[in-house]
């Protein structure tokens, strides 16, 4: 969560949220799924389909809303994936997904969401949190 205090900063509409989860699978195994931008609908509840053309991805949500995205980084060495939603409602968005090896064939997945408006940061980030829950279930079931 971000801190905002109108006394100090005036009205702020920027939001930044972070969710994480520990998964009993190797970082390499998890990255194989989450590092593939075309497979996001397989593990993110509420994303019903997606198409990828180069650095452009379009996801379709359960509400029927279609969101265009730009893939900013897909780094298999760091195991970091970054993208931004380019729909006009967002003044700013950046999503960052990190898969971090924690030893003993377990890893930590961290999903961060920055957005203006902040309401979308909260709403999108809640979706990412449920996606992490789903990811953990899928990966540990398959282990």
């Amino acid at each position: 969560m971000i801190w905002f205090h109108l006394e100090d900063c005036g009205i702020m509409t920027y939001g930044s949220m972070r969710h994480s989860i520990s998964i009993r699978r190797s970082a390499a195994d998890v990255w194989q799924l989450v590092g593939d931008p075309a497979r996001v609908h397989e593990w993110f509840p509420g994303i019903t389909s997606c198409t990828v053309e180069g650095a452009r991805r379009v996801i379709v949500l359960g509400s029927g809303l279609s969101l265009p995205e730009e893939i900013l980084l897909d780094d298999a060495i760091q195991r970091r994936f970054q993208y931004r939603i380019t729909a006009p409602i967002f003044k700013h968005h950046r999503g960052t997904l990190d898969v971090i090896e924690t030893g003993g064939r377990t890893c930590m997945v961290v999903y961060s969401t920055e957005a203006d408006p902040r309401t979308m940061a909260l709403t999108i980030a809640a979706g990412t949190a449920s996606a992490l829950d789903e990811l953990k279930q899928q990966m540990e079931r398959a282990s």
């Binding site: 801190w3 359960g62 509400s63 408006p117 909260l122 979706g127």
Partner: protein, 511 residues
Amino acid sequence: MGRKILFVTTDQQRYDTLGCNGGALSRTPVVDALAAAGRRYERAVPQSVVCMPSRSTMLTGQHPSTHGVWMNGVALAADAPSVASVLHDAGYRTALIGKPHFEPFLDPFARFAENRLARDGLVGLHRGFEHFESATHGARGPLHYARWLLANHPEAVGMFYPVLDGALEVNAMGGGETGAPQVQDNAIPKDWYHTDWVADRTISWLDSLAAEDDWFCWMSFPDPHHPWDPPVSELGRVNWRDVPLPPGYITNQAEREAVLDTKPRHWRAWYDGTLVSNYEAPLDWIPATMTADQVREVNARNAVEVELIDEALGRVLAAIHARGWTEDVDVIFTTDHGELQGDFGLLFKGPYHVDGLMRLPLIWHPAPSAAGTVSTITKPVGLVDLAPTFCAIAGLPVPEWMEGRPLPTDDADAAMRGFERVLTEWDSELFGVAVHLRTITRDGWVCSTYQPGYSHDGSEGELYNLADDPLQQVNRWNDPALSSLRSDLIADLWDHQPPQQKPLARVEAPV
């Protein structure tokens, strides 16, 4: 064949907006008649002063700490208990028509069943309701009313006030003749407005039932919650220029601000526009700028919405009568929480446990066949007592997971069964601002204690004598003569406060 239950809720309606409670602005003959022939509660208190926790309490018969919906934007667990399920399992036909709000509205992923039902063209089963047709304050979004309006009267969709602005914050845009926030002239014909739609759909569902069916119908009107945009054709009912300022509105600015300064600091900070601690009011609207005429216009439009609800309820009761059911129908009328509506120079709601938000209309008209008493109940009761009451009406045992008790039938019954106190909770942690308070209403006092948060160090509180200070303008928290009483009330509060579910459920959306 047993007793049938019509449970009528409104959203964000003050106690003093009904004629039977002394209100003079709205004409509410239908509810007034129910009160005159039934039970009128003078101190009905919500367990939360915002929608989702309060509605979840009505459904579960549990305090927010137990059902887990600790603030707006937190979803009631999919497997949470439901009084509708209890009744349905006992053979009742069950419906919820109107505003549910057990799950967040802002749901682009359609993760919540409440929003998926209308998308998928379904009307149930959901949380024990075999028929579930949903509506909220406007005509956008995934709910059944919005889809009905878009399909049948698409030209009307844009007539409503946009509740949220382009940044999805609560809209501060002003309208009407005074520029009051969340006010707009809505050209929609009355027949298409959600109040009439809720009544129409309720009548339609009742018409689908067999004569011998027992039924529980939660008819949930989205009004008179903001925005204040009733059909413009109805505005002539109440001329805002003739509306007196409410007693809680302190006309003199210096006196108003002096009263605010006796309360914990988030009161004055919100009034001055330096802190918006929650998502219940516009981020870029400053209450201190509100004019007396804006208060009048908001109250006038609110009164119009209250009248429309009363008339819609009258139509539903007539339909029930036409089916020959009147003798066996219990009608319970209430709301989820109140509205400041000008008190202390404020609008909307938030972490402010005073009568504007905490004193609710509650009327129980028992089925005439049950030969119920006519009474006025002065002892405190809670919305947590509604679900057990429905079970009692249906002749069912109250499940152990319910924390309330069937409503008392009169003060003697209340005294005999120990209706002494009601608890109210506020928790919010949104965009870095945390506010936590717990409140007890007992023995004619309202006592709130604050826990550490963004604006509070945990030493703050509020203590009001409801008899001597019905407008809660004299905070006696620091009155040394009342220190013993204060300690007793706080101890009693914590003795009865259910432990909070931990970890707290995730905030899924602002609302």
